[in-house]
Symmetry: C2
Subunit: 448 residues, 2 copies
């Protein structure tokens, strides 16, 4: 048995060969003598065209086949380089393994993304969501490959945790349904795996997490979900410039590989969403990352402040998406890392710069999406970290273990967080996070 992807990728070898394919129908047309059926087997978004003739198979059975039905076909592959489809399968044997009921909602007619979000268990059977999920899977695997190749330890940071990493952001509370106070203390769903990853970076040097994280923000934007996956590498002995380099290298490698692996899906996305998708991604892959100091970015933004809704551009401004987009899309026309942000709107654990005002943080901004990655060099000086924790009235007791890392051979580390669904959005061109994850969770929305 072969996958459609395998056949198409080696079409010359398969020309004239008998194969068996299993999959699902996505369209059927024709007459009593000959029928054309599109088969999708999930290996790619591309449908294999099947030609069924009355002299070979029973077309009455074929005729009963509705969209979405499971079918099995044995036939001969024919390479057709001069027609629209590069291959067809000339059926010898046709089996209708399981039909769909007539109310199967994924039909040929166009369905809105909103309606599809109501049926997350079925929507991946559309070409668009199928393409997105195939690319999502490749991105995830290529991220693992990248870190594996560069000798990172994959760490499972805990999901249920007793401290919230950012010292900010709404959290979800967890408890057993039957045994109250199951853990003997307040338990929340982790908003980040970073602090735990930091503990592991000391001793393992290079580590990363890749797991689900949670925010209970009552937010209904296209960019926010209550449950999303984060990639968080942490490297001992790294400083800010090293971790920016890693972020850039990782993104470029992963995107480049995904462009190769999912060629057919990008073909489809360019037809249906953004005809310049590959051009955008190739620019990203080929362009050297720019780096700009936050204070210089502020000066640049001042020059064009009338372009923005928020025109009060000053040192201390927490950049809005419109400002971020200007920097990436207009000023640099490519990825740009903004560094050395004012400490006020950054987390407590970031390395405090000598100016007393800024921290060694960076946000990686990309055209079309704004912030894709945020990271920093960590504050490794025990007394500096402690004073910042006190300044922000974060519980010192809860973070005693984290502070202790600084007493036990921590010579510094740096790391970043990549919102995985943001990457999926950026790479596929879709504009809503609800379509970048199989079963999205948002306020008042918990399907299945």
């Amino acid at each position: 048995m072969y996958t459609v992807k395998k056949i198409l990728s080696n079409i010359k070898d398969f020309d004239g060969k008998e194969v068996k394919v299993l999959g699902w129908t996505s369209s059927l047309r024709g007459n009593k003598k000959i029928k054309f059926l599109e088969l999708n087997d999930g290996s790619t978004v591309y449908n294999l065209q099947v030609v069924l003739k009355s002299e070979s198979v029973d077309l009455e059975v074929v005729d009963k086949t509705r969209d979405g039905a499971a079918i099995s076909i044995v036939g001969i592959i024919k390479h057709t380089p001069n027609s629209k489809q590069i291959a067809e399968l000339q059926a010898i044997e046709f089996k209708l393994l399981k039909n769909t009921d007539e109310d199967f909602p994924i039909q040929k007619k166009e369905i809105s993304m909103e309606v599809l979000r109501e049926i997350p268990h079925l929507r991946h059977r559309t070409k668009l969501i199928k393409s997105v999920m195939l690319i999502r899977s490749t991105l995830a695997l290529e991220i693992h490959n990248f870190f594996s190749k560069h000798n990172f330890l994959y760490v499972s940071s805990p999901i249920i945790t007793s401290n919230d990493g950012e010292g900010a952001g709404e959290t979800f509370i967890v408890d057993s349904e039957s045994v109250k106070d199951f853990f003997g203390k307040k338990a929340t769903l982790g908003v980040t795996g970073q602090l735990h990853a930091e503990a592991y970076a000391i001793g393992f040097n290079k580590v990363y997490t890749f797991g689900p994280t949670f925010r209970a923000e009552n937010s209904h934007t296209k960019k926010h979900a209550a449950e999303f996956w984060m990639v968080e590498p942490e490297v001992a002995f790294y400083e800010l410039k090293d971790i920016i380099k890693l972020a850039d290298h990782m993104l470029k490698t992963v995107i480049k590989k995904t462009l190769e692996v999912n060629k057919l899906e990008f073909d489809f996305l360019e037809e249906s969403i953004d005809s310049k998708l590959r051009e955008k991604l190739s620019n990203f892959v080929n362009k050297k990352i720019s780096i700009i100091d936050y204070k210089d970015a502020i000066e640049e933004l001042k020059k064009v402040k009338t372009d923005f809704e928020e025109q009060n551009i000053h040192f201390g401004l927490d950049l809005a998406t419109e400002h971020e987009k200007y920097l990436a899309e207009k000023l640099f026309q490519g990825p740009v890392a903004v560094i050395n942000y004012p400490k006020e709107f950054k987390a407590f654990y970031m390395h405090q710069n000598d100016d007393g005002k800024t921290v060694s943080a960076f946000d990686l901004l990309v055209p079309g999406i704004g912030e894709l990655i945020g990271g920093s060099q960590r504050e490794v000086r025990h007394e500096k970290l402690l004073s910042r924790i006190k300044e922000l009235s974060i519980s010192e007791e809860e973070l005693k273990w984290y502070l202790d890392l600084r007493r036990f051979g921590d010579a510094g580390s740096s790391g970043f967080g990549l919102g995985f669904e943001r990457l999926v959005m950026y790479v596929t061109g879709i504009d809503n996070i609800r379509d970048a994850i199989p079963f999205p969770r948002t306020p008042n929305n918990l399907k299945m």
Copy 2:
């Protein structure tokens, strides 16, 4: 900069070469003229022996270096094939980057596993936990590699869910701390990703999940944790025999690769835990899996019933670990899949056999640990599935979406669940799940 693992794996190339290594001290001895220091950089459990002489480096600085201190060394690698250590680093430059405070708990003296569990942020700096976590990381990556190579789609099943997959087992409840009823309905942490994976198998054919799952069982055994990672493949068109073959193939491939990648860690584990660890794993890899019908297994157990605590061996008995161990360790002396269990103690979604009594399920039992994997062919007949759901008084409304899959082109699928920490335990030889995951969560135990 090179890792110790890289240097050791290519020791002949590195002989005589100048290198820089970064890592942590794990032992220091010697006199005023010469000192020997063991450096670990986290790439392997193996410590690189560093020789420091007073004519090359300032031994007074070296002398201040406590266990766990971060250090940087430039030196010449010397291949020493005839001594206990196969290599040493002759230091030219030594830098103490960050010392440890004197109360650093990981010292040379032996610390019990119980005490180490109190300091999960530091315990990976022991050789044992370091070895386990290095192997854990390899196992995870090799699992991804296996599925990727065999064209599986990696699916993120949701963590927060509105239904509990098994129709059994205690669940954790989730809600926002500030906005009550955040999702507009009861939300729990998923006990399995299987049902969602099934939805994706129809359309994608071969899928797998690899993510955290949760049980709120008030259990204090060595085998149970409240949070653990599961690997759950699901394949459309597969029957029971196919999925058993997949489980066997996956385990053998992953274990074989891990034995190659983590050679030095297995050396250490054989020295410290189980001198026959590799022999056990090689047997597993090389031995053909056995398959026995549950009813035949019962007959076999009856023959030796006086060996067991539970001696009431009869059709309908839910096998205890002692019975499972007998089958794997004594009777088959290797992995064995027990199939066709009575439906009473298996989940509602399993394919009902024609005898009306059993379901097409399997448990994969392995020597030393008992059940490692459980799986089944799924019930694809809508009416059979529905009647079982009613029989067990499971909410039909909650599972409407799952029932609907059977109406929309589901020609059958099979899958299994592998408790990832069980695999880590089996492969490393450790006997407590708390030591198989970085930050274990159990009742009344939530550190960090």
